[in-house]
């Protein structure tokens, strides 16, 4: 089960998934990102501090946007991952494809 919040800060759209993203809840994540893109945000932050677990389907959501982001010149930075989530990203090689920051400050700097 996941609960996803969104806030806007300094012209950036911050997506905050809370809980676990698995095969079924990944659809919600997809919808939120699609909405953010649809609203024309070009700087997207994903706050993973409250993300406890993410399955391969959840990773697939991020991955599916990589090309679209490149085409539309949208930048996305993920930050605040716990060890378990970071490990999942790392094993699948997503660390090489996505921008991942330590914390919010660093993430904002990367997008600035």
């Amino acid at each position: 089960m996941v609960q996803i919040k969104r806030i806007q800060e300094d012209g950036m759209d911050i997506i905050i998934p809370i809980g676990e993203v698995d095969a079924s809840s990944s659809i919600e994540l997809d919808l939120v990102i699609a909405k953010s893109v649809g609203e024309g945000h070009t700087k997207i932050l994903v706050d993973c501090t409250a993300l406890e677990y993410i399955s391969s389907a959840g990773l697939g959501v991020f991955m599916s946007y990589i090309e679209e982001f490149r085409d539309k010149n949208i930048r996305m930075v993920l930050f605040g991952m716990n060890e378990r989530v970071a490990n999942t990203f790392e094993i699948l090689g997503l660390k090489e494809l996505l921008t991942i920051a330590e914390d919010k400050v660093q993430a904002k700097q990367l997008l600035a």
Binding site: A23, S56, A57, G60, I91, E96, L97
Partner: protein, 693 residues
């Protein structure tokens, strides 16, 4: 059966009583007339007559009371038929009086007596028949109080019979009092004519006729039964004139009274019968609908019944049912109206911005009729429409049409609203059924997917003098996409793959089979692992849907050079045990999963790696289902625990290592119900490996 036997017995007793009465009475009368001392007591005929009446009473009681299927009109028919027989017999006897040359005969006392002995029991029988029939009618819907009253009445009458038979002296004043009491009770009982409401129009007419004739028969029989003869022998025989016989009089008054009451009630009920019939039809219609919903009929037929019944209940001329599907697709079910006509009306109303059609307002008939009249070419002048709700959502409309203007009244509005509710229930039902079917289909699909998945895994793993392999794979209820396979490329090269397809179910099984195809076609070409990944990625880019990917590790074990070449594409790092140092480590090399980068730049994200294997080394391939397996406390099995497990049994052969590993895993998760796919493959290198070439 006992009742039947008893009924027959009573019938026989009645018959015997009558015959006995006939002869004893004749003998007594003859004796009295001729002045001879009769050789039997004079009260004998009286007693026999009472026995006759009582047994006849019980006979009818059993016959009518126990007959469950007898309906009201049939009952009246029986009463009528009995009356007819009695009247015909009586008339026939009277006819003799008018035949020429019978004047002497008919004035003979013996003839009179015989006539009396035939007509009197017939009249008595008819009265009792009526009495029993009325009892059934009165007690049709009985309350406790009514039942008690009836019992009082019945026992009272029995006592009256006894009383009259013995004509006790000095109690003459009691006669009037008792008669008055019987009349009052009879009046109260006669007010119970609820059965009339259950007759339909035709039955009511029949009932009127039968009751009228019954009254005539009763009056005729009661007053024409020959009584002169009785007057003559009154006191001596113990048979009183039935016109003054308390029992007879009370029963007669009651029967006539009830006849009249019923007659009047039926008569006054005639005009309202159609309303009752309509109500009854509504009930029957509802029953029909709910039954049709319960039995698994097709959606169309249920809607058809719904439309049919609602049309017939409110006397409408046509109807339609519009149902919105989940995808906002409208479906129209029409009854006695073409779809085009219905569509025209719907569009017309929409164009006129008639909103009332979808609201439960009180009086929408007038409103809509006004709009209808502006629609040219339509024969309908009234429309009544109701929204259909399922779980609070408006999912359709039930509309009824009439050619008459202002054709619907408030009563009909109420009825239609209940029909609309019913429609909601049936639509809901069909949706639920559909969902159930869908999930059933899904389950079936999963079963197939699981079968496919199992069949994609190799039954036999490659063998070599340098190493042995053992694998374990078990999937949870939902099919996962764990895949492993081996292939001998050349005499000294064996290819090995482990992969995990993202997603579950049939799609996962489908991608797995694609992966198998890719593995078998690419691996046998003897290409390098990184090249394998690049080409596999290229192939999968075209068939994996957005968001799907496959993590995989591909190995080529070269037994000549004692080298394992491998490329890791986002799959769980291999656990490698070094026999010489006794330590195990995860080979964490870079590599992105297949399908994540869908262009030629993928080559930049994959690395080539090599490991020189030594005797006794162990390689553990697994999927994330194992490391992410949870204990009852929510703790993960994890990487460290996997190492610990391996280090416990590094010297055992591959099959034993895998058994140990799986046993530990189940022990950890604490149940046999796994929540993910467990797949593991052990490659154990021989203690004595062939020297490198």
């Amino acid at each position: 059966m006992r009742t039947k036997a008893l009924t027959r017995l009573l019938f026989v007793v009645t018959g015997i009583a009558w015959v006995a009465l006939f002869f004893t009475d004749l003998s007594v009368v003859f004796s009295i007339k001729t002045g001879i001392q009769p050789d039997m007591p004079v009260w004998m005929p009286g007693l026999l007559f009472n026995i006759y009446l009582l047994s006849l009473y019980y006979y009818y009681k059993l016959k009518i009371d126990r007959d469950e299927i007898l309906n009201f009109v049939d009952l009246l028919w029986r009463v009528f038929a009995t009356g007819l027989v009695a009247t015909v017999v009586s008339l026939a006897l009277r006819l003799i009086e008018f035949l020429p040359g019978t004047s002497r005969l008919v004035s003979h006392f013996l003839y009179l007596e015989i006539t009396y002995l035939i007509t009197m029991p017939l009249m008595g029988g008819f009265l009792i028949m009526c009495f029993t029939a009325w009892k059934r009618l009165i007690l049709y819907q009985k309350s406790k109080w009514l039942f008690r009253l009836w019992q009082v009445f019945e026992y009272g009458l029995f006592l009256a019979l006894v009383y009259s038979s013995f004509s006790l002296p000095g109690l003459d004043w009691l006669y009037d009092v008792l008669l008055a009491v019987f009349v009052v009770i009879g009046l109260v009982l006669s007010a119970n004519t609820k059965w009339v409401a259950y007759l339909n129009f035709k039955q009511k007419w029949t009932g009127l006729l039968l009751l009228l004739l019954t009254v005539f028969y009763l009056i005729y029989l009661f007053y024409t039964s020959n009584s002169q003869i009785v007057a003559a022998f009154n006191d001596e025989r113990g048979i009183v004139d039935h016109r003054y016989h308390l029992y007879f009089l009370a029963v007669f008054i009651f029967v006539i009274m009830y006849c009249s009451f019923s007659f009047l009630v039926i008569l006054f009920n005639l005009p309202t019968t159609s309303v009752f019939e309509q109500k009854l039809e509504e009930v029957v219609n509802f029953q029909r609908i709910s039954q049709s919903i319960q039995t698994e009929q097709s959606e169309e037929s249920v809607y058809k019944i719904l439309l049919e019944t609602s049309v017939s209940t409110v006397f409408a001329d046509a109807a339609w049912l519009e149902v919105k599907d989940n995808e906002h697709h409208h479906r129209l079910f029409t009854y006695r109206i073409s779809e085009k006509e219905a569509g025209d009306i719907i569009n017309h109303l929409k164009n006129n911005h008639v909103t009332g059609i979808l609201e439960q307002a009180q009086d929408k008939t007038k409103n809509l009729s006004k709009h209808l009249s502006s629609l040219r070419g339509s024969r309908f002048r009234s429309i009544l429409a109701f929204p259909i709700y399922v779980k609070g959502d408006n999912i359709g409309t039930l509309a009824l049409l009439k050619e008459l203007s202002d054709g619907f009244n408030k009563e009909m509005t109420k009825i239609v609203s209940t029909f609309a509710n019913q429609a909601g229930i049936s639509i809901e039902n069909f949706r639920l059924m559909e969902e159930a079917l869908q999930s059933e289909r899904y389950k079936e699909e999963l079963k197939i997917a699981k079968m496919v998945q199992k069949s994609l895994l190799p039954e036999v793993l490659e063998r070599d003098t340098d190493f042995e392999m053992a694998a374990f794979s078990e999937s949870a209820d939902e099919v996962g996409g764990d895949y492993y396979d081996t292939l001998r490329v050349t005499e000294n090269e064996v290819a090995l793959v482990i992969a995990d397809v993202s997603g579950k179910g049939t799609t996962a099984a489908f991608h797995m089979s694609q992966m198998k195809g890719i593995f078998h076609s690419l691996a046998q070409q003897g290409i390098r692992p990184e090249e394998f990944m690049i080409r596999a990625n290229n192939a999968l880019t075209r068939c994996l849907e957005r968001g799907s990917f496959i993590s995989a590790t591909f190995f080529v074990i070269d037994t000549h050079k004692k080298i394992i070449r491998y490329a890791r594409a986002g799959h769980c790092p291999v656990l490698y045990y070094h026999a010489d140092t006794g330590k195990a480590e995860y080979l964490k090399d870079r590599g992105v999963a297949l399908g994540m980068v869908r262009n030629s730049s993928y080559a930049n994200f994959i690395g080539a790696n090599e490991v020189h294997y030594k005797p006794g080394d162990i390689m553990v391939l697994y999927t994330d289902g194992i490391t992410e397996s949870k204990s009852s406390k929510g703790e993960e099995f994890g990487y460290d625990r996997l190492i610990t497990c391996l280090l416990e049994v590094p010297d055992k052969p591959a099959p034993e290592i895998i058994d140990h590993l799986i046993a530990r895993l189940y022990e950890f998760s604490g149940s046999d119900n796994i929540n993910d796919d467990y797949t593991a493959l052990i490659v154990k290198f021989a203690k004595q490996v062939n020297p490198p070439d």
